[in-house]
């Protein structure tokens, strides 16, 4: 569904991605593991059209994506739930969701209203908080709002950047159940996550990104079977 080939992205002189290739297959959860500074967020921002790749290609459903605007990427069905959630703190929960549907707010008001009701049914806590400023929500509630806001654009591919960051373990589990549920409903997921164990538990395929390059990829069991990776990312002592 999504195919990234030999993508190079730089910040000035610094190459953050040095030729990354990966694929996210339709209907699967693909996860990207790797240490801080490996280029995971850069990769997601490049796919999202916020950063321009210096070279390489990104195709989505067979069409080239590299070089299109962020708005076009959202319009084509890719949404990003950013690191640290980035909800609009002074807008209400309802307004946050409407902002998520921005690309189709003008021409599909009825569809947006229907999706709003669907989000409130899926996340009852957001319905309770509908008129409240998003900045007053707890971390877990904000993460749910960020997911719901991304869903308001009706994505076929949902990208998530560190959804577990700064959340209590119980809440993290809840968020991952939501992600898994969405995937079962047919949404393809590309997940960047520090919590490797949890990410591998719901992923179909995993990539390891190190210093701007893909160092390894395979199924979760192949990743776990690799002694070096297990030791570095899963905290398992090799023997």
């Amino acid at each position: 569904m999504l195919e990234v080939r030999e993508v190079v992205t730089s910040y000035g002189m610094i190459q953050a991605l040095k030729g990354v290739s990966l694929a996210a297959r339709e209907g699967e959860v693909t996860c990207i593991l790797g240490p801080n500074g490996a280029g995971k967020t850069t990769l997601l921002y490049t796919i999202a059209g916020i950063l321009r790749p210096r070279s390489g290609s990104i195709s989505f459903q067979g069409r080239e994506l590299a070089g299109t605007s962020a708005a076009d990427v959202v319009g084509r069905g890719i949404s990003l739930v950013p690191e640290n959630r980035l909800v609009f703190p002074h807008m209400t929960v309802r307004e946050n969701l409407l902002a998520g549907a921005y690309v189709r707010l003008g021409r599909d008001r009825a569809g947006v209203e229907a999706d709003l009701d669907a989000m409130f049914a899926r996340f009852p806590i957001l319905k309770q908080r509908a008129g409240q400023a998003a900045g007053t929500l707890s971390g877990g509630e904000q993460q749910m709002l960020a997911v719901a806001r991304a869903l308001m654009a009706r994505p076929r591919l949902l990208m998530m950047d560190e959804p577990s960051l700064g959340l209590a373990p119980l809440v993290v589990e809840q968020i991952f159940q939501i992600v898994q549920g969405l995937n079962r409903e047919g949404i393809t997921v590309l997940l960047v996550e520090q919590n490797a164990r949890l990410a591998l538990s719901i992923a179909h395929h995993a990539y390891l990104l190190e210093q701007g390059r893909i160092a390894f990829h395979g199924t979760p069991s192949e990743v776990s079977a690799n002694e070096g990776i297990s030791r570095a990312y899963l905290g398992i002592k090799g023997g």
Binding site: A48, I50, S69, A70, A71, V73, V74, G75, S79, L80, P82, L86, V87, F88, P89, H90, M91, E95, L98, A99, G100, Y102, V103, L105, G106, R149, A153
Partner: protein, 288 residues
């Protein structure tokens, strides 16, 4: 008591135009995170344009309004190009300093070409004054208040009830997240600037018809009133700017009434200092 009420009513009516100036500042500051000190001087140019049209076609009030607003908008576009678009990658303080330079340009140009300096501005003389009990409602003040209120209502509908408004407030809250939602942040920034210039031009019409004249110092006056209204209301909150403008107006008229005109500005600046020094809200992040 009657004095107090009269000054209160006068202050609310005057303050409504301060609210408009404050909203113009807030729109630009909230969306672009940059201060536009040249906001008042762009209105100054608009009022001079309106004054000339008023002298050329006496009685053509709509032409005066149109000339004022259009000239203010054109000047706003000039400021946006010079100090904001061209310097978008520079630090916010660079933009702010350059708006000061543009302010001086505009003020000096007006002084240079307007030999008589003080120019008349037409007002709708046919409007009657109202008296409610002991309170007198001057026609020019009533027009300021009702005009400003109508503009504010329209502005709030635009910002809180439309797709464009959602985008403007989203960019003000988090431009990064807004980009992720597919909002073109630079287009929204330019549009917010245009909107602020329009509001500024309309505020200029309402203020000038009340003062019935304009001098080259109007730019300074309008920038100070707008900035004060915005800061009193918490630097970045739209409802706050409305409240800030009204509070400023009331403080001014009360001071004028009880202590005399020479204390008017001193009182409002003392109030501004107190609010900035004491309130955590005034020092917090900008928001819409």
């Amino acid at each position: 008591m009657v004095d107090f009420l009269q000054a209160l009513v006068d202050g609310v009516m005057l303050g409504a135009t301060y609210s408009l100036l404050g909203l113009g500042f807030t729109l630009i500051f909230g969306v672009l995170r940059r201060l536009n000190l040249a906001f008042g001087p762009t209105i100054l140019v608009g009022i001079y344009a309106g004054s000339h049209v008023g002298l050329a076609w006496p009685g053509a009030l709509w032409a005066v309004v149109a000339a004022t607003v259009v000239a203010a908008i054109l000047c706003g576009i000039y400021v946006e190009r010079c100090s904001f678009r061209a310097l978008a990658r520079q630090a916010p303080v660079v933009s702010m300093i350059s708006t000061f330079a543009v302010w001086m340009q505009l003020q000096e140009l007006v002084s240079l070409f307007e030999a008589s300096r003080t120019m008349p501005y037409p007002s709708p003389a046919w409007l009657p004054a109202l008296t409610v009990g002991p309170i007198l409602l001057r026609s020019d003040a009533l027009l300021m208040w009702s005009g400003a209120t109508a503009i504010m209502l329209a502005l709030f509908v635009l910002l809180y009830r439309t797709r464009f408004g959602t985008a403007v407030r989203a960019v003000a809250d988090s431009s990064e997240a807004a980009t992720l939602m597919g909002v073109n942040v630079s287009v929204i920034g330019a549009a917010a600037f245009l909107l602020a210039s329009t509001v500024g031009g309309l505020a200029g019409v309402l203020i000038a018809q009340s003062q019935q004249q304009v001098t080259p110092y109007f730019g300074l006056w309008a920038t100070v009133k707008g900035l004060t209204a915005m800061l009193l209301g918490g630097a970045g909150s739209l409802p706050g700017a409305v409240a800030g403008g009204v509070i400023l107006g009331v403080v001014e008229t009360q001071t004028l009434w009880h202590f005399g005109g020479q204390w008017r500005d001193l009182a409002s600046f003392a109030l501004l200092f107190l609010v900035v020094a004491l309130s955590p809200r005034a020092r917090s992040e900008p928001t819409l």
